[in-house]
């Protein structure tokens, strides 16, 4: 039993470290995890799911705005990107944030094609992150079910 937990814990550690190393996450995520305690046991997953909902909504809005071949309302897109950037940086979704930065640049120069490309990228990145984090949370669940504790991961 203990070996299973230990194995799971190691797996969890490796996984989360890989997420950091691959640049999916940054320290803000650590901050989030630090905020989670007994009082708010599902804080991270809650915030993350909020974030993904937000993402889906924003991307949907932006893609609708960008669908028009002409007279794209860049202001609207810009505010969407801005929000996305804010929330992604708050969650620590680093890749999403980085794409948002270039997205914003495209938006500033009213480059529709660039925007579309960035939009796809954002979509891809956030979905990617979503699956990764879902895996992470599943792993967590399994550890908890196995009676272990979530190990603290020190990200240097």
């Amino acid at each position: 039993m203990n070996t299973v937990v230990a194995q799971l814990q190691r797996q969890f550690q490796d996984y989360i470290v890989s997420l950091y190393q691959q640049g999916f996450l940054d320290n803000q995520f650590t901050e989030l995890r630090n905020l989670q305690d007994e009082g708010t046991p599902d804080f991270v997953s809650e915030v993350v799911s909020l974030f993904f909902d937000d993402c889906a909504k924003l991307i949907n809005n932006m893609s609708r705005s960008l669908e028009q071949p002409e007279n794209v309302d860049f202001k609207q897109v810009d505010s969407g990107v801005h929000q996305l950037k804010g929330s992604s940086s708050s969650v620590g979704a680093r890749r999403v944030k980085n794409v948002c930065i270039s997205f914003k640049e495209c938006c500033d120069v009213h480059n529709r094609e660039g925007c579309l490309r960035c939009l796809q990228q954002v979509d891809y990145e956030y979905k990617m992150l979503k699956t990764k984090l879902e895996d992470l949370f599943k792993l967590e669940q399994r550890i908890l079910q196995a009676g272990g504790t979530i190990p603290q991961v020190d990200i240097k």
């Binding site: 901050e31 905020l35 915030v47 937000d54 801005h82 929000q83 929330s87 620590g92 495209c106 480059n111």
Partner: protein, 1202 residues
């Protein structure tokens, strides 16, 4: 023809000599070479497209395609010009050829016609003359015959008849002999007698032919017959039928006519043709052509009747025969000269004469017969006749001019004329080979054509080459232009990329600074940690320093890029200029003391205290300048001078600075002169020109580099980097900032070693500020003894003191100090010996004597701690020595930042409470003096505990001013202990830190000194970056998780994620958080309160803020739906007007630029946090904004209580 030349010209393009072909291929090569780089280039920008945008791309493409098309157009134009040239040349050739040929031909033809006409005319004329001659002779013969016959009218006898015949014979002979051309003359009498003379050209004999007289008689019948049958009675039968007649031929001497030999009978066959009566049927002259067997040419014979006297009957017929061969001869002669053939025919087509030697007669069985021209043995004549026959048929016109008659295989001219003689029309035909006349012409024409064509082809090629050469120039220019366009494009791209770079750097500001800030903050925590070993502490401090340096460097780069990208927004806030500079000098003096360099601040008294502007940037300017000076100054001093001037005298000043070699003092006095009216004008304009100088005694800068040192990355000496380090950005930033503030900076000439950087800034002054507050110390009778090791600072300080009427004595070291002290305090007892023992300078003595005159002087002795000998323990004795005078004078100590605690403790123990850190400058001096004066006043009324009194009077709590300066948005967040305020007197900082602390607890002094040190450090680090100010606060609060206990926070955030995160974060730290979704809700949440306020105006504000203010702080996202953060803040601030409430609002934004910060602060927010939220930063910000107010209320409460 035209088509030919055209095709030639077209063909000549590709077929032309290799040269042009090469040229063409080269041209295409160039074109493709020109096209390809454009294409390859178009690949590269595609990658950077996102950055640069489509517009530029399109422009670029447009430019290149434009070039390409113009290049094509040049090519087309070339072709067109060539084609036109070809057509032109072709036309010219054709026309030239045509005209030369046609006109030549025509004129030649005219000439040829004339020639032909002439040619024919002559034989015809000859013919004519022959005919005429014959006719004349005939007529003459007839006349003679008529005469003779008349004479022997009606011979009746044979003798008479014979006689008459004899006479006739003689007459006829005479005629015959005279006309040599005659062939024969015949006289045929009515009775049938014939007399004839005949020349045989073959044997050149002359014969007389006569018929036998016996056969003829003079019978009436015969005459009657003739008479009867006039007209047709006579016919040839009379002669030919009269076969019975016998003919005799007698040879005659051709000249004399003498008979030679006997007449012999000849057969009728040999008889020549004799004209009979039949030939003159109508009594008129008749002509006909005959042949004779003696002649191989036709003969022309004319016949005329001879009438009798009555002129009614014909008595005889005279016939004259002429040979035509002379005509032929003539024609032959002509043809020999001109060539060709001529022949004459009768109307029936019988040949009369030809230019050839061919026979004209055919020998038939009946003797020679005339032959037709068609039957001629001569080829030319036959062919000509056949051609005529063939062309015109039987009824041809007699006049024909054919130019291109083809006979055989040659072209001939063929002309025929009609000589219309009565009874004998003659047709003349001239056949001339065409080549005789036109042959040369045709040949010439062909040659001319060839030459013309080749010439035009040559011209065409030369033209083409010329065009190519000419257009080559054009295309070269074209290429140059394309090059230029490309260059321009490249430049634009480079500029754009430079822009992007700047923008990138500016955008990176947040990303770069945040980690650095984190590093520094964490280090601060670490430093404040107690459990560090000394070694660790030193290391961490070192790291701290390094990170500060790194941050500064980053800030430098970012500042520069920000200034260059035009994003730098200067703040416009009030600040205390003097204090900013003092703080700066304080900070640098720490560095300078290590360098053994004095830092001196020398601000003139007329400098305004409060100015409006960007304090951080101003400080940055001087910090850069001073740090630059420090870098190059190893010994000596660095003086920061400042004086001011109003706008009006700026012009003079500018002209003055240009050639200013005088020291600044005269200028200053001049400026003081100006001051009176300048103050007035300043009131209106509120602008002031502030002059500053940073004067050092460093290595100096070469005059040639004076301008270039202000360029980026420029250093006066390349080796500087190695020796002193640095990036060369500092001065560039300085210049940029100075320019931005409407000023200018330059290096001016200095006497002696070092550099003077002089700059001026134009700053506005707040309206309400009374700028100059000059404390008047002269009336207190103060005497100041300055015992300072640094001569420059001492000199400047004493000068200032003297100017304000304070007696000042200077001492540079311990010995001097003791001398002066002794002199001052023991002068009464040992005055004379003092003079004799010590050689004090005259000035000092004068000073001393003047001091002695002051009644009830208050002595202030300012002692630099450096004057004491700290290396050994002597300083304690020295202190004891000085302590003796403590009753008579007040001691103020100048400490170094690294003065050890033992010294401080000792000083404090001895009751020396006035301690200031070096360097000493005006404000500190004033503070000391004021302290002394106040102390003295109290001392007069209550001679009690001196130190307590001094403490009371000097304790100036910074928080006192916060009540009225809480609007100063950003400043409140700072940890600077004193805010710029609207107080009228210069605000005193707690320079005399130790003084305030010393009375609390002696044991805490060490702690206090560390705080001082810390404060110094903080100041050093934090004056640049406002956001960094708070880190020391973080350091203190870092471990306290519940640091926000009890603070009520309104969070306006629309992003659910952020809202959640921030809420949790804040709640973790003990804050009460209310989250709203947009600005409107936030305003509503607060409006509730203001409504209450409005309803209940009598209620005290304090209690209101205590009880009714539901939130201590608002965290406001800037970008929100419905109402964004800016709007919401504005609304809240509007609602606050008229109340004394001020809810601190902290902006939360993902924008990290200073311009965004400026915008936030502009709308009335108090602080600014960037996303992602940094917990520590947020905590410290919140604390700095909320704590003072709680502190303030406490303070107020306590005040009220007391």
């Amino acid at each position: 023809m035209r088509g030919d030349s055209f095709s030639v010209s077209i063909e000549s393009l590709p077929d032309s000599p290799m040269g042009s072909q090469k040229k063409m291929s080269k041209m295409f090569d160039k074109m493709s070479e020109w096209v390809t780089p454009w294409r390859s280039k178009s690949e590269t920008p595609r990658e950077t497209r996102i950055l640069r945008g489509d517009v530029e791309q399109e422009q670029f493409q447009y430019a290149s395609s434009h070039c390409l098309s113009s290049y094509y157009s040049v090519f087309v134009v070339r072709l067109a010009i060539m084609v036109m040239l070809a057509i032109l040349i072709g036309l010219l050739t054709i026309l030239t050829w045509h005209f030369t040929r046609v006109y030549t031909k025509q004129s030649l033809q005219t000439l040829a016609y004339g020639l032909r006409y002439e040619l024919l005319q002559r034989p015809i004329l000859r013919m004519w003359s022959v005919l005429n001659t014959t006719s004349e002779l005939t007529t003459a013969q007839v006349k003679l015959s008529e005469y003779v016959i008349k004479k022997y009218d009606k011979p009746t006898t044979q003798e008479e008849l014979v006689e008459m015949y004899q006479a006739m014979k003689d007459v006829t002979w005479a005629l015959f002999a005279s006309a040599k051309a005659l062939n024969a003359i015949t006289i045929n009498y009515r009775n049938g007698f014939v007399q004839a003379f005949h020349r045989d050209p073959a044997s050149s004999n002359t014969f007389y032919i006569f018929s036998d007289l016996k056969n003829y008689s003079i019978s009436e019948t015969g005459l009657d017959d003739v008479k009867m049958s006039l007209g047709h009675g006579w016919n040839n039968q009379t002669i030919h039928g009269n076969m019975s007649a016998i003919w005799y031929q007698q040879q005659l001497d051709p000249i004399t006519g003498v008979k030679i030999g006997k007449p012999h009978q000849i057969p009728p066959d040999d008889l020549i043709s004799i004209a009979g009566i039949s030939q003159v049927p109508d009594g008129e002259a008749s002509w006909h052509v005959t042949v004779s067997k003696y002649m191989d040419s036709p003969l022309l014979s004319a016949a005329l009747p001879v009438f009798d006297a009555s002129n009614k009957s014909i008595v005889a017929v005279v016939g004259v025969t002429t040979a035509l061969y002379s005509v032929g001869q003539l024609m032959r002669d002509l043809v020999e000269v001109h060539g060709g053939h001529i022949y004459l025919t009768s109307q029936e087509g019988y040949l009369l004469a030809t230019s050839t030697n061919g026979p004209l007669l055919t020998n038939t069985s009946k003797g020679p017969q005339l032959m037709k021209a068609i039957d001629s043995e001569e080829w030319a004549i036959k062919a000509g006749a056949q051609w005529l026959e063939k062309t015109y048929g039987s009824n041809r016109p007699h006049v024909v001019h054919a130019e291109n008659a083809r006979l055989g295989d040659q072209q001939y001219y063929l002309d025929s004329f009609l000589l219309n003689l009565k009874r004998l029309p003659i047709v003349g035909v001239v056949i001339i080979p065409r080549k005789f006349i036109m042959g040369k012409v045709d040949e010439r024409a062909f040659k001319t054509l060839v030459i013309l064509i080749s010439a035009s082809v040559c011209i065409f090629f030369i033209g083409c080459v010329c065009i190519l050469i000419l257009t080559n120039g054009v295309s070269k220019e074209m290429k140059l232009r394309a090059e230029l366009i490309r260059q321009l494009d490249a430049r634009r791209r480079a500029e754009a990329s430079s822009n992007y770079k700047s923008q990138f750097l500016a955008n990176m500001s947040h990303e770069l600074r945040t980690p650095m800030a984190a590093v520094i903050g964490l280090l601060d925590i670490l430093i404040s940690d107690d459990c560090l070993s000394n070694e660790q502490y030193a290391t961490v401090t070192q790291i701290r320093k390094c990170s500060t340096a790194l941050l500064r460097l980053l800030n430098n780069i970012l500042d520069l890029s920000k200034v260059e990208s035009g994003k730098l927004v200067l703040e416009e806030a009030e600040f205390d200029l003097g204090r900013e500079l003092e703080g700066l000098v304080d900070m640098f003096s720490v560095q300078c003391i290590n360098h053994n360099v004095e830092t001196v601040l020398d601000l003139s008294d007329d400098m305004p205290t409060l100015v409006r502007g960007d304090s951080a940037r101003l400080v940055q300017i001087f910090a850069n300048l001073i740090s630059n000076s420090i870098k190059f100054t190893s010994t000596g001093h660095i003086i920061l001078r400042g004086w001011c001037e109003n706008m009006n005298s700026l012009q003079d000043e500018m002209s003055l600075t240009a050639d200013r070699k005088k020291p600044w003092a005269p200028l200053k006095t001049k400026l003081v002169h100006h001051r009176n009216h300048s103050l007035k004008s300043c009131k209106n304009e509120n602008k002031m020109v502030l002059w500053f100088e940073v004067d050092d005694t460093g290595c100096g800068i070469d005059p040639s580099k004076w301008d270039s040192v202000f360029e980026s990355f420029e250093q006066a000496d390349p080796s500087t980097t190695r020796t002193h380090g640095g990036t060369g950005l500092g001065l560039c930033i300085v210049r940029n900032l100075v320019n931005k503030m409407g000023g200018d900076i330059k290096i001016v000439q200095k006497n002696g070693l070092g550099t003077i950087m002089r700059l001026y800034l134009i700053l506005s002054i707040p309206d309400n500020a009374d700028q100059i507050c000059q404390p008047d110390f002269s009336k207190y009778g103060l005497v100041v003894l300055l015992a300072m090791s640094g001569s420059t600072a001492r000199m400047i300080q004493s000068k200032w003191l003297r100017k304000h009427g304070i007696a000042t004595v200077e001492a540079s070291d311990w010995n001097e100090l003791t001398k002066v002290i002794r002199d001052l305090f023991e002068t009464g007892s040992r005055g004379n010996s003092f003079d004799s023992h010590h050689n004090i300078a005259e000035s000092l003595r004068a000073e001393l004597s003047s001091i002695q005159e002051i009644k009830n002087p208050a002595f202030v002795i300012v002692v630099d701690i450096g004057v004491l000998d700290l290396t050994t323990d002597i300083w304690k004795e020295q202190l004891n020595y000085l302590d003796r005078f403590s009753g008579k004078a007040k001691f103020a100590w100048l400490l170094k930042h690294d003065t050890s605690n033992t010294v401080k403790t000792e000083l404090r123990r001895k009751g020396h409470v006035m301690m200031v850190n070096k360097p000493l400058y005006k404000a500190k001096m004033i503070q000391i003096l004021e302290a002394v004066i106040k102390n003295r006043k109290r001392g007069f009324c209550n001679r009690g505990n001196v130190s307590d009194e001094s403490h009371d009077c000097l304790e100036i709590d910074p928080t006192q001013f916060d009540t009225c300066s809480s609007d100063d948005s950003s400043e409140t967040s700072g940890d600077k202990s004193v805010k710029p305020s609207t107080l009228h007197s210069p605000v005193l900082k707690n320079y005399l830190l130790d003084m305030t602390k010393s009375n609390d607890e002696d044991s805490t002094t060490s702690e206090a000194s560390t705080t001082t040190q810390k404060k110094k450090q903080e100041e050093e680090q934090d004056w640049k970056d406002r956001s960094n100010r708070l880190y020391s606060g973080v350091a203190l609060d870092g471990k306290n998780q519940k640091s926000l206990e009890g603070i009520r926070i309104l969070l306006a955030e629309d992003t659910p994620v952020l809202q959640r995160v921030a809420t949790i974060m804040l709640e973790k730290m003990g804050a009460t958080v209310t989250a709203v979704w947009d600005g409107q809700q936030a305003v509503d949440a607060l409006n509730y309160r203001s409504i209450i306020n409005a309803q209940d105006p009598t209620q005290e504000h304090k209690t209101l803020s205590e009880e009714e203010n539901p939130y201590d702080l608002i965290l406001m996202d800037c970008q929100m739906p419905k109402m964004d953060g800016y709007e919401a803040t504005k609304a809240i601030r509007r609602a606050e007007i008229g109340t004394e409430l001020h809810v601190p609002i902290v902006a939360l934004t993902a924008h990290a630029m200073s311009s965004d910060e400026a915008k936030c602060l502009e709308v009335g927010m108090d602080a600014y946090l960037t996303k992602p939220i940094d917990r520590k930063l947020m905590v410290s910000t919140i604390l700095s904004l909320t704590k003072p107010s709680t502190f303030l209320t406490d303070e107020n409460l306590t005040r009220e209580l007391s």
